[in-house]
Symmetry: none
Subunit: 199 residues, 4 copies
DNA sequence: GATGAATGAGACTTCATTCAT
DNA sequence: CATGAATGAAGTCTCATTCAT
């Protein structure tokens, strides 16, 4: 019984968070108001504060959930059985499709906010550290397996890869009409040349 | 006489803009208030509105000037006499130093804002288009000169390069303690392998 | 339950509107400030905007209610069973008393505002059209009944009558010390001669 | 020399006043701003305060000049050589044309403002008193000459006539599409019957 | 759990007016 | 005479948050 209540609570909380994320994506963290979120989530302001103690708390929750999502994708990517470079390419495909579906979303806002809000900054940095660990390990394994160049610095390569995800978001803002297929091919070229064992 | 007035006006306007940029970098476009900007610029709110018709106008002015600055750096880079890859590397050095001096600045906020505000979006896209043109031309020349791989798609390579600038900004937020020297070396490796003529 | 809420809401709204009308009568639509209205209505500015979306909305609401009140009086007047001229005279008495009780009120402000604000203009014109219809019908009936001159143009006579209401308002401003009894007598003379069947 | 200066000064002052009147007609006394008036008069705010000590001073000056204009028309009307009733009718024609040319103008604003601002109120009341004197004398003369009914109260008849001018302004706001010719005929009827010697 | 009334500080902006040149 | 820089209070309205029901 207690559990059922808690589950319902969590579900509602997630719904609110999803509504908030839509608002934040539309207007930014400071541009979106509690009132708008309430309307989007079909909830009263008084009630919303039963689920979140403050707007800041919603922002950090969204930062966390957004980053968890990316982290999950990266994790999945690092567990793929294909060779490293091909996995990278397919991840780029996924990224491209996700962009098309979800619009720019909230990642750029998280990055901007993380640069000034230590709370959000901490969350982002923890998630980033985790992702880098995953990727660096993945690269090291691939180096041992001979898939990618053993001379590369795995830590730094991982950092580059992660920042390329961010850059992908920025790219759709800079060039909304970019031919993503052509771009994907060139990006693939870069990554293949970068990672491949040199001879 | 007219000129002296106009010059003073422009100078004051630039001072206010600089103050506003500091505030925006600290708090974000929507987090920073006119009152804070006024205090930073040592000006009264009434007077500020003699120079800018609205806060939005200040934001777009800052977006423009910030992008002009980056564009100027790219232009300088494309005019360098050294070979393409070396120029790229030195540009990365500059970027790293600029980051260290100026903090994260306002670029991430521009990117986030451009995704929702069509005005800012237009400014960003125009500037991006200009930069891509510069870079693509630069790459084409370098391809003719034999410095870089003639099989590369210059348009897309230029887009990737611009992405790397954004990626650099994101990186400093994700990994504030990153060893930039090690990172620079790996980035240099990636670019050399990407651009070099294949054999 | 729903009804009780809505009723309380409407009641509070009406209270605020009454307070606003007092302020507007004292200072004019643009001279009265939201802060003054809030003080008069004993309400916080934030809360006031739960009841009215803007100051403009309050102005139009007051224009409507003020005109509805006058319209109701005219309606009552046109339904009176006495002969037309006597009804007119008694209406003038009422008007005179209402002036004395309520001060100049807000009608002159509505007229002035209606000349520039299309929203208020529309409200005034709709109400005026309605009143003219009532009066013209009343006059036509009285013409058929032989009470007033059948040669008169009922539409235009109605317009004149409405003008006389406005004229009354203006008069109290121009001549605050006017002997209203003497004035009433002369006005009565004018109306009797105007409306009476000629022989 | 002194005189020439003073004349220029007065002329400029009148120009500014005319510009202010246009602004006030468009936006109302409190809705129009000094900045707008400055733009309309092509003058700087600093300079405007060489001609008028405050906005209030401009309002009273406009009230005065506007009323002087009406007063002059009334004076001219009372000096006409035709019989009283015909003079009244022609005045109504003039009024109608003036309305059409100048729009609603500023009279309704003066009336509304006079109801609360004692300064404007005083000006209006003085002017009204003067006009009433003119008209009452005119009526008395006409009564002696047998043109109009000697039983009428000249003071009150004058008051009625003056308030009909105000009502005319209001009428164009209430009924912008009113057939003025038909209205004029009915008004003429009313005045003729009112003023004519009864038998 | 759920509502929406209520707050008051603070948001952006405009105001009438003064001052230095 | 003339400008426009400069002020700071006050304008309307929105905000995140709390409270009574």
């Amino acid at each position: 019984m207690r559990t059922i209540h808690a589950a319902k609570h969590d579900e509602r909380r997630a719904q609110i968070l999803a509504a908030a994320e839509r608002c934040f994506a539309r207007r930014g963290f400071h541009g979106a108001s509690i009132a708008q979120i309430c309307k989007e989530a079909k909830i009263s302001p008084g009630h919303l504060y039963h689920y979140f103690g403050s707007k800041e708390e919603m922002i950090t929750a969204i930062a966390e959930s957004g980053l968890v999502y990316t982290q999950a994708r990266v994790k999945q990517f690092t567990e793929s059985k294909t060779d490293a470079v091909s996995a990278t390419v397919s991840e780029l495909e996924n990224l491209r499709d996700a962009q098309r579906r979800a619009g720019p979303g909230v990642l750029l806002d998280i990055l901007a906010e993380a640069a000034r809000d230590p709370q959000v900054g901490g969350i982002l940095q923890d998630a980033s550290k985790g992702m880098r660990l995953l990727l660096a390990t993945f690269f090291e394994e691939a180096q041992k397996g001979g898939d990618i160049d053993p001379d590369l610095d795995p830590q730094m390569s991982a950092a580059i890869f992660i920042s390329l995800i961010d850059a992908g978001k920025a790219l759709t803002v800079r060039y909304p009409d970019l031919d993503m297929d052509r771009f994907g091919k060139t990006m693939e070229t870069m990554l293949r040349r970068f990672l491949s064992r040199q001879n």
